[in-house]
């Protein structure tokens, strides 16, 4: 068999649409995960015991169930009880919920790593607990979490390929279609390998830059 990438030329547009869908789903899910992760991280430090337990159950539960099972439950299970959500929305929700469990861990450790002296300075200055959280704790925790949140995003890009199982023609889904249309699975999956690798490589490059930019003023040596 001859390795011939040119046979894919007519399908480039279709594949690009799939890639765009992957990127869209991942960006939305990242936003969802960080917001959810933040809320859950806050809940895990809540004064109310039942809130803490609920948050803990969520994190434990969604980390210990295969993503594909979560996804099938949302997409094929929920309609049985009258809840219909389209494939893209389902995918974003499922990725957000799964990613949120990891993001909450990341953000929580970012919060716990904050030097207590900084919090004491805020406290004696009379800053309220809420203001201390929004103006000091959260910004510091988020910027120190950029790298691990980047890993969550990369994981999300990889996991998003599973969305093809619920009829969503994102990158993997459209590749499958092209493969079966052209009968050239070798070429198409080589391309898929390269595109995923490039995508995650680009993202981790971006994360590194963002991390350095945000923490620029914190990284410079003590002088």
């Amino acid at each position: 068999m001859r390795f011939d990438l040119t046979i894919l030329a007519p399908h480039i547009g279709f594949l690009a649409e799939g890639a765009l869908l992957t990127v869209q789903a991942c960006i939305l899910s990242l936003i969802g995960s960080v917001i959810l992760g933040m809320l859950v991280a806050i809940a895990r430090t809540s004064a109310a015991g039942w809130v803490r337990r609920l948050a803990f159950v969520y994190v434990d539960l969604f980390r210990n169930i295969p993503f594909i099972v979560q996804l099938f439950f949302f997409y094929y299970g929920l309609p049985e009880i009258g809840i219909y959500i389209d494939a893209f929305t389902t995918g974003v929700i499922a990725l957000s919920i799964a990613g949120g469990a990891y993001a909450s861990d990341v953000i929580r450790s970012g919060i716990l790593a904050i030097d207590n002296g900084i919090l004491e300075a805020a406290e004696v200055s009379g800053l309220s607990k809420r203001k201390t959280f929004t103006r000091i704790v959260l910004p510091i925790a988020l910027r120190t979490s950029v790298r691990p949140l980047g890993s969550v995003l990369i994981n999300m890009i990889l996991t998003s390929s599973i969305l093809s199982t619920i009829t969503l023609n994102e990158l993997t889904g459209s590749a499958k279609i092209v493969a079966s249309d052209t009968f050239r699975p070798f070429e198409i999956y080589v391309v898929l390998l390269v595109v995923y690798a490039a995508l995650t490589w680009l993202v981790s490059l971006g994360i590194g830059l963002l991390h350095r930019r945000l923490n620029r003023d914190m990284l410079e040596p003590v002088g």
């Binding site: 900084i118 300075a121 004696v124 200055s125 800053l127 103006r135 003023d217 410079e220 003590v222 002088g223």
Partner: protein, 244 residues
Amino acid sequence: MLKVENVKKSFGAATVLNGVNLTVRPGEVVSILGSSGSGKSTLIRCINGLEKLDAGLITVDEFDVSKPKELAEARKRSGTVFQLFNLYPHMTALKNITLAPVEVLKRPRDEAEAEGRALLASVGLGDRADAYPAQLSGGQRQRVGICRALAMKPRYLLLDEVTSALDPEMTAEVLTILAKLAAEGTTMVFVTHEVEFARQISNRVVFLEKGTLLVDLPTKDFFDPAGGLAQPRVAQFLSKMRKD
């Protein structure tokens, strides 16, 4: 007036403050000396409400720090400068200074910023307003820390070994500023190991030993052979400090 009356504080089985009495009147500079572990930091932390008292009473201008409702008022009247600066790392020097005036005192931002810049200029950091803590030297950081406390216009400035993380040159920078503040009549409670400096700027010197105030005398008397120095522990402490 800042009043500490018969204050007791233990951590588990260890009694750290065992009936401390101290009065600081407006305009006074009171230095607190004492060996390591004698409870100096704990005393400061009781005054600014970071530690709860086990017994006794601390009032800052009549506001009882043990009563949650009064603590907020008490805290508005005292400003704390920390040994390790404790600046907010994600904010510029100016932001560090204006955060509490804007959020707590509800001062208009532009006024708070103008005052913040003036404070920075007064400590020789007029051109570093936009620098982040990590871009400043230790001495510069501590000067920002002092500005941050002063920006709240406290009646009492609490300073806990504010130069002990600094090298001699930076220590001198910071002490110059404290001397200026003292000369301007700023009320200060000054925990320090800088005995000579304490002697220069204080109205009174107190000596804390194992959680009790062993000596509380006007500065001149504290260093007098018939006064503070008559206490063997004080004499021993001072001669050790001089040797170091």
